[in-house]
């Protein structure tokens, strides 16, 4: 099977970028976009359809089994993990267009700098002064909230998230739900002002993030749990 990969190439954030087209062959139907990128990088002499050298494609990966979030890219317009995107799913179109996540500073090609996410969690004040208290009631919520990969896919599709803006998106409120639902009410109160500014005040409830999460987190449910505690002061 032959796929036409159109891959965004850009030396650094200041240089111009363009799509480079590579024909990629595989007979293995288990292969994913991540496999294709790995194999291309392992083939030093590779050329694109115009006979130009491909060189090493910048992208990030680590676990290759959708548990670490490193390889998030935009595939034919939709953000997702490269290791979670089987080439066979594009069999009809045979063209796969790969672009970097657009809301983060670009490092090179498909590789972006997501350090802002770590900064956002600090601004939300996600630290615990006391101990977490888990019960049969809140345990599952904490599990779900702790699954967040910090990959950034949810922010890519969010109409309210703009780089440098006040709203932090699902990548902020998903982890926060553990803090709100399993710490004391005093701690929930401490978290409230930042929550109002960076989450509640900015979310337009489009729920575009709902179906995009590669970890399959029930984002909808977590948002209503965190709103219930932070905004309405309901019991956990």
């Amino acid at each position: 099977m032959e796929y036409r990969l159109e891959i965004w190439r850009q030396e650094n954030s200041d240089s111009p970028g363009r799509f480079q087209t590579i024909l990629y062959q595989t007979g293995d139907e288990r292969e994913t976009v991540a496999t294709a990128l790995t194999n291309i990088n392992n083939t030093p002499g590779m050329q694109d359809i115009n006979g130009n050298p491909v060189g090493e494609i910048g992208w990030e990966c680590s676990c290759l089994q959708k548990k670490c979030g490193a390889c998030a890219v935009v595939i034919n317009g939709t953000p997702g993990l490269a290791c979670d995107s089987f080439l066979r799913n594009y069999i009809r179109k045979k063209t796969i267009k790969l672009a970097p996540l657009s809301k983060f500073p670009l490092i090179r090609d498909l590789w972006v700098d997501r350090s802002i996410l770590r900064q956002d969690l600090k601004e939300l004040g996600l630290t615990a002064a006391g101990d977490f208290a888990f019960t049969d009631r809140n345990n599952d919520t904490a599990f779900e909230a702790s699954k967040c990969l910090q990959c950034g896919c949810c922010l890519e599709v969010c109409p309210n998230y703009v780089p440098g803006g006040k709203f932090f998106g699902a990548a902020g409120y998903v982890p926060e739900t553990k803090f709100l639902t399993a710490l004391s009410s005093e701690e929930a109160k401490r978290l409230k002002p930042a929550y109002m500014t960076h989450i509640y005040g900015g979310c337009g409830k489009s729920l575009a993030c709902k179906d995009i999460c590669p970890a399959g987190i029930d984002i909808d449910r977590l948002l209503s749990r965190s709103n219930a505690v932070a905004v309405w002061g309901r019991k956990k």
């Binding site: 293995d28 290759l64 600090k122 345990n139």
Partner: protein, 533 residues
Amino acid sequence: MEKVNIIGAGLAGLSAACSLAENHIPSRLISVQPSERAQSVLAAGGINGALNTMGENDCTENHMEDTLRAGVYIADPEAVRGMTKAAPGIISDMHRIGVPFNLKDGKIVQRNFGGQKKKRTAYAKSSTGKMLMTALIDEARKHEMNGLIERYAHHELSGLLIQSTESGKRECVGVTVADTYSHTQQSFAGKTILAFGGMNGLFPGITTGTTANSGEAAAIAFSAGIRFSNLEMIQYHPTTIGIAGKRCLISEAARGEGGRLFVMREGKPWYYMEEKYPELGNLMPRDVVSRESWFVLHDPTCGDQVYLDMSSLSKEVWKDRLPDLREEVMHYLGIDPAKKPVPVDPAIHYFMGGIDVDICHRTNIAGLYAAGECCSQYHGANRLGGNSTLGAIYGGRVAARDLAETLMTLKEEHEDTENSEPEGNAADEKPGAEAVLSIGGILKESLGIVRDGEEMENGLEKLKKLELKASQSEKRRLYLAEAILLSALYRKESRGAHYRRDYPGKNDAFRGLVTAEMTEDGIQIGNMAAGEQ
């Protein structure tokens, strides 16, 4: 106060950084990727500790005995005693800082795991590593905000700064790191803890681990003269599935919850583990299970595929304890494990050997520590499932504690250094893809579940040939690869994960560590009793 450098931000690195911060000691937490991407997030089945919540009269001595026995008595009993004693406290600390372990009536429940007769493995469904990591990342954030932890999350180790003092003592005085975004290099003075994980990248594409653990850091450390031990002890996990680009683990929890291994023989499934080992059956230690799988696969009367049958697991188990495992198998293989047996194969999963450390996690170089999977300490010849998340968290703490004591008692008694220019190990280009793949291929051929001297000698010869056209960084990788083969050749016996066709028996002349060290005269292999460092 001078900052401590920590290389690696998985469980071991995070644990070390948090422990240092609790002692008001600042650190730089340096990792090639942020913590969310570390291999530790993959840990599935759980973490061991004799909490004794299951009414089985478990105690930390039992945990210690099981660990030593599974490691075939080459781990330091005192170190293992320390870890197993600390385990219940570590699990409750993790619970307190935010790990949602599975609970029953408010108590942490524990499951069966291989090589242990008692239910001793605490878990959060089958995503325990991710839960531990999220909680430790949250804990570290607290110290980042009060300035005690400084993150360098896109920085790769490029060298260790090692000085020789007048008395000939070698001391690590800092590290050099390369910023992967800007390609600039920086040096950071200070004592250092290495926590860079396993050497998965030496076996590209055929381990259950991550690509980010490239083996580069281990190669740098080895070439800098840091002593390694038990490099030949490489764990094959019996149940993995082939997905694109890697082996994907089916956690031992699958067997802990009732999964059974079989192979077809004379038209019928043969549950070989249950027949051969009536007591522990499918839950024998991993070295035994992988080897038995290898034997049945090489038995002409048996079929050529081993299967894991999980069809007897209850709905509750799938829902509450292994939902993520089921989802993964369905996603990658299109097989519902609740309904159909899953074809599985053994694959490389863990490195028991690594940087040789003493009971306080000090290396042979003053001022340099190692913790987590990159070091060789608790697991001897074979690691128990659930003991490495524990060993990583505990090891990070022990190293931090020792460092804290050292730093606090340090009274300007520094010897003058001989050469003011530290003999670093500067970064150059990375090894090429071709070299990495060739070295990996050779190691794979020579270091299977069943090994033999001739094959390993052949492998060594092939590696030597590659040296001729290798770049500096490729040479470092080759030296480490050669050291693994030399260690495996040196250990002329079969013990734990190291099984040799030409020496199939255990020989207590080798009841200890096989050490490997790079010196001016090349790679030196030797032996030493554990705990003698």
